[in-house]
């Protein structure tokens, strides 16, 4: 089930010998396959619930890793589009509770398989203006990451202060490493460590999405910190 409307094709890339185009095209194919794989996985997990703790653990790993690949691929495609000016921000009025609940629902199986307690702290009527799809993607990515590193709890919150929206994802894990916390402030991709599988692509994506949200003289931004009520890592994105 390939999407015939996708304008990127491998042939197009080969003609121009543009590697990024070839990459974008195959990423698109991989993403479609992975979508199917994730779907089958969900079906299998429902049809054959885990019999013991070991199986539960294996299902959970399968699901987490597949989600992670999916997320990374979506981000790669989005970044490719950003660089080719094919990802315009579509600012609209969004209810925060809808955006947050949607991302929690999306990862419900992952949270369940890990036995996590996910809380949402957000006024039902809180409204703000942003690209719901892009911001949803950022929150999704942070949630998947948090599910991997937290112990028991993840808390999603949103509030408005001084015409600036703050969305935060906090956990009770060991927190972000120092090297990572410096990266986003430099506005670059940060230290890439392929050996540890740590390319910081997610942070780069979040940073790019945040900075696409501008209003008057203010730019959106992200912030990483440790501590808070839960004592683990805290990811925040601010949108003017």
């Amino acid at each position: 089930m390939t999407d015939t409307n996708e304008q990127v094709t491998i042939a197009e890339g080969l003609k121009t010998a543009d590697f990024s185009l070839i990459l974008a095209s195959s990423v698109h194919d991989m993403k479609n396959s992975l979508g199917m794989l994730l779907n089958s996985l969900d079906t299998v997990m429902r049809a054959m619930p885990p019999q013991n703790e070991e199986q539960e653990q294996q299902f959970s790993t399968l699901h987490y890793e597949a989600s992670r690949i999916n997320t990374e691929l979506i981000q790669l495609l989005s970044i490719y589009r950003m660089q080719n000016d094919r990802l315009p921000v579509q600012i609209d009025e969004c209810y925060l509770i809808d955006v947050l609940e949607e991302q929690v629902a999306r990862n419900d199986l992952l949270f369940q398989s890990r036995g996590l307690d996910v809380q949402i702290d957000c006024d039902e009527d809180l409204v703000w203006y942003f690209d719901g799809e892009l911001i949803g993607g950022v929150v999704h990515n942070v949630l998947v990451n948090a599910a991997r590193y937290t112990k028991k709890t993840i808390r999603l919150s949103a509030r408005l202060e001084d015409e600036l929206l703050e969305i935060a994802v906090a956990d009770d894990g060991i927190g972000y490493p120092d090297a990572m916390m410096r990266a986003p402030e430099e506005g670059s991709m940060g230290p890439v460590d392929f050996q540890k599988g740590n390319t910081h692509l997610g942070l780069y994506f979040a940073q790019q999405v945040a900075s696409l949200h501008r209003r008057n003289d203010r730019n959106g931004q992200i912030e990483l910190s440790n501590g808070g009520d839960l004592g683990g890592g805290i990811f925040k994105i601010f949108l003017p």
């Binding site: 199917m36 315009p88 600012i91 999306r106």
Partner: protein, 537 residues
């Protein structure tokens, strides 16, 4: 905000994958749905909708053979089988679906991205159905044209700060626009823009300005929108209307071309592009646009006989005019025209027109015998009939395609006589004439020519060439225009050196004159001089 009415919903699931239908079916069952039908193709979905009015439709975008999800949606909307009370959700594998899909003519109520989990589906449905339920009275009045009641509900909801205030606001503004209540609409958009400069309010404002007749201001708003969001298709659509009303059809074509490049799947926009390019006598663009209409029309409810005919007609014109002729296009055109009688019921003159087009395209492909045969078949049927201008002009083109300029000219003279007091008709005949006969086109060609001559005298050859090229495109048989273009090209090459592209254009214009004038013709001497100057370069 859990929705509790699942038990009474009529639901339709459309997907060509068995496992997916089963999975979604199970999810819906869990939510309490009792009446769920699932089908495997777009055609079966359309059949099902003929029998039953569904409250909720979940449709995959890719459906294998037959219409895709978007075409199912278009057809349902066009047939009025989807009321405002029902929900249509499109399921896609593509995450940035809005970019790919929202550029169509009709948007679904929501998109769902695969993979879909039970939780995601439940959350989305709860939200959408709760909204639908809350807004039901409003939609009900709107559907029954009780506008006063609908407006009252919307105004109250906005004042009370309803969760759906923005949606009510947008709908309300639409009602005001439709009713010509421009002050009320403008007031609403202004207030929305004070909160945030969102696209919907800006487009609304541009519509208000347009309806007030301030097309320049309307365009200012629209340019501002597409600059920050090039995917706002509505903005292009309004802009096209503005440029047409401003009498700038070339600008309108340019904007439409941009819109079509961004969103090539919209058949209505492609049709519009074909028509405008045809008015501008831009044969290549018109041919391509109508060709796209034919392809997109295969499973679309917006497929029209006229698009197929126009494709054949402009393909034939292109083949007649271009050197070397694009034979591939002629073959495509012929294939399309040959299929027309099977695809459409040909009534009245359209049967004649199809035969004339077949004749032209066969002539283009140098199958002269077949071309004459088709022409004769058509002409036998024409005997004793009074024919419309459309058919007559197709006949003119056929004579030209067969190299019978004499017959074409005789017929054109008859037509000029017959339509002597019908300016619109004369304007259409002008395209085949050396000198336009309609007042508007006489003024237009004089104006463009004068502009060109003015630039030429100022030695601004670039601008002079632009003017004469435009005149040549609009009046391809006008001898004076061809000579002016040749003269400007020669002057330009004398100053800046010989240039193959210019030389080719110059010789093709002179060739056009060569076949039309003989010694003794008023333009002959000028033609001869230019011919020598071109040779001397």
């Amino acid at each position: 905000m859990a929705f509790t009415g699942y038990g009474s919903l009529k639901v339709l699931v459309i997907d060509d994958f068995d496992s997916f239908r089963a999975t979604v079916g199970r999810m819906l069952d869990d939510f309490g749905c009792r009446d769920v039908k699932s089908v495997t193709s777009g055609n079966k979905a359309l059949e099902a909708c003929n029998r039953t009015r569904f409250d909720l439709i979940l449709c995959d975008y890719n459906l294998g053979d037959g219409p895709n999800g978007q075409q199912v949606l278009e057809q349902l909307r066009a047939n009025g089988q989807l009321t405002r009370q029902s929900l249509f959700l499109m399921i896609t594998a593509e995450s940035s679906k809005q970019i790919v899909l929202s550029a169509y003519d009709y948007a679904p109520d929501a998109y769902l991205t695969k993979p879909i989990t039970s939780q995601t589906l439940r959350q989305r449905l709860d939200r959408l159905l709760a909204q639908r339920q809350q807004m039901l009275p409003f939609y009900h009045h709107l559907e029954n044209f009780n506008l006063r009641e609908a407006v009252d509900i919307a105004v109250d909801a906005v004042a009370a700060g309803s969760r759906y205030a923005t949606i009510y606001q947008r709908q309300l503004a639409d009602v005001y626009l439709q009713q010509g209540m421009l002050d009320e609409a403008e007031d609403l958009y202004t207030r929305a823009l004070e909160v945030r400069p969102l696209d919907w309010a800006k487009v609304g404002m541009s519509r208000v300005k347009r309806l007030r007749g301030d097309l320049e201001m309307s365009n200012q708003w629209l340019h501002q929108i597409v600059e920050s969001n090039p995917f706002c298709m509505q903005a292009y659509d309004v802009m096209v209307e503005n440029y047409q009303d401003l009498g700038l059809p070339e600008k309108a074509q340019e904007v439409l071309q941009t819109a079509v490049d961004i969103s090539p799947m919209s058949i209505l926009r492609q049709t519009n592009l074909g028509q405008i390019a045809d008015t501008n006598n831009d044969i290549e663009v018109a041919t391509r646009a109508f060709g796209n209409c034919v392809k997109l029309g295969e499973y679309s409810c917006h497929d029209r006989l006229e698009n197929h005919m126009q494709f054949g007609r402009s393909a034939a014109a292109w083949v007649r005019e271009a050197e070397p002729p694009p034979l591939e296009i002629a073959r495509e055109g012929l294939q399309v025209i040959e299929k027309v009688p099977r695809r459409f019921e040909l009534l009245g003159e359209s049967r004649l027109q199809a035969q004339l087009l077949e004749s032209q395209l066969n002539a283009g492909l140098e199958d002269t015998a077949k071309a004459w045969e088709k022409l004769q078949e058509a002409e036998e049927k024409m005997l004793g009939q009074s024919l419309s201008l459309d058919v007559q002009l197709d006949r003119v083109s056929t004579y030209l395609a067969l190299g019978r300029k004499d017959r074409a000219n005789d017929l054109l003279n008859e037509l000029i006589e017959q339509y002597h007091d019908d300016q619109d008709a004369l304007q259409r005949i002008d395209r085949w004439l050396e000198e336009p006969v309609s007042e508007r086109n006489r003024r237009l060609v004089a104006k463009i020519n004068n502009e060109g001559i003015h630039h030429y005298q100022e030695r601004d050859y670039g601008k002079a060439l632009d003017s004469f090229k435009r005149a040549r495109r609009l009046f391809p048989n006008h001898l004076g225009v061809h000579l002016n273009l040749a003269q400007a090209l020669i002057a330009e090459m004398k100053e800046f050196g010989r240039n193959e592209e210019h030389m080719e254009l110059c010789l093709s214009s002179l060739q056009k004159v060569a076949v039309a004038v003989e010694p003794g013709h008023t333009q002959f001497e000028r033609y001869r001089q230019l011919q020598q100057m071109a040779k001397g370069l």
